[in-house]
């Protein structure tokens, strides 16, 4: 007896996926709903639906006969289901996951669910992700009660998450995308802090006539400092060392 269990965002979706897998029509199978799907709120509390689809005995025999004589109808059936499926990506819940990669997925939604899963593993259950995309630039804004855990020391965890999510994004996306991730405006606050640090250090350099090396920073953080000091004529800035320990040096102009 042919049987399969299938997970999908909704019961309907799970059934059509299972049918696609088995190559049968809705009339030829018995469907048993193991778990109803839940939409959840903003992707939280969402639960996938699970169905068990069993091919009816009589049909199975018929199909066996059919496939020997004319296998075409089954193939047609499959492509039809696929088509209807691709036409309604709106219905696809953002929590729908890695279980079925055969369907077309939005890389942004895919990486969102990836991120949500990681956050769950870290014990963050209330993660909210908003996204904006502009050409190849995608920005994620995260918020959660435990924002500190997501940011980590000097944004270390945030950078790690951003890196992994960008990998995920580019695995599914057709063209290269750059991801910028922010937790509760951390990056903006960090930018202000870095600019202040830059100005303070620049003044110190001018006062002492000695160059100052800053601690190793990510490229975009160094860029913030370079930019902040770009129009100062009394100092010069450059970066030294190899990634990931590249650091910025502020030097007095002689």
């Amino acid at each position: 007896m042919k049987q399969t269990t299938q997970i999908g965002a909704t019961v309907e979706e799970a059934i059509s996926l299972a049918l696609q897998k088995l190559g049968h029509t809705r009339e030829q199978v018995d469907v048993e709903v193991l778990q109803e799907g839940k939409k959840g709120f903003l992707g939280f509390g969402a639960r996938n639906a699970e169905v068990r689809v069993t091919v009816k005995e009589i049909v199975q025999q018929q199909v066996n006969n059919e496939t020997t004589s004319q296998p075409t109808p089954v193939v047609e059936e499959q492509s039809f289901i696929k088509e209807t499926f691709e036409n309604e990506p709106v219905l696809v819940n953002e929590d729908q996951s890695i279980h079925h990669e055969q369907q077309q997925v939005d890389p942004i939604e895919e990486s969102k669910s990836y991120l949500t899963n990681i956050a769950l593993g870290m014990g963050i259950t209330d993660l909210i992700i908003e996204h904006e995309s502009d050409g190849k630039y995608v920005s994620f804004k995260l918020s959660s009660e435990k924002a500190a855990l997501l940011i980590g020391k000097r944004g270390l965890t945030l950078n790690a998450l951003q890196h992994l999510t960008q990998l995920m994004l580019n695995k599914t996306a057709k063209s290269f995308m750059i991801l910028q991730m922010d937790v509760e405006d951390y990056r903006e606050r960090r930018q202000v802090a870095l600019e202040q640090l830059a100005l303070r250090m620049a003044d110190k350099v001018v006062r002492t006539r000695k160059s100052v090396s800053l601690e190793p920073m990510a490229s975009y953080e160094r860029k913030i400092i370079h930019n902040a000091l770009a129009n100062r004529l009394d100092i010069e800035t450059y970066s030294e060392g190899a990634e990931p320990n590249r650091y910025l040096v502020i030097e007095p102009v002689k």
């Binding site: 890695i98 990836y114 899963n117 990681i118 769950l120 593993g121 870290m122 014990g123 855990l149 980590g152 270390l156 965890t157 950078n159 790690a160 998450l161 890196h163 992994l164 990998l167 995920m168 695995k171 990634e243 990931p244």
Partner: protein
């Protein structure tokens, strides 16, 4: 914790079914040994070990919260 590592690694690799994690626990440390398909090893390490570093960063920050033991993540053949 094992779940977290799986959640990070599985979607990144081409052979998710070959991802295996073993734990090696002693009185003061926990080592998570990560095994992946040989072709995926580069993917979980990344250029200059960047992916490996990111995985460790996340695991350490998650582990730091609820266990006192020192945590390690090893990628093995």
């Amino acid at each position: 914790m094992q779940q977290l590592i799986e959640a990070i690694v599985k979607p990144l690799v081409d052979y998710p079914e070959d991802v295996r994690i073993e734990t090696d626990e002693t009185s003061n440390r926990v080592v998570y040994k990560l095994f992946v398909h040989p072709e995926d090893r580069g993917k979980v390490i990344g250029k200059q070990g960047r992916v490996a570093k990111a995985i460790r960063t996340i695991v350490y920050s998650a582990a730091g919260g609820h266990q006192k033991k020192k945590t390690y993540v090893d990628i093995l053949d």
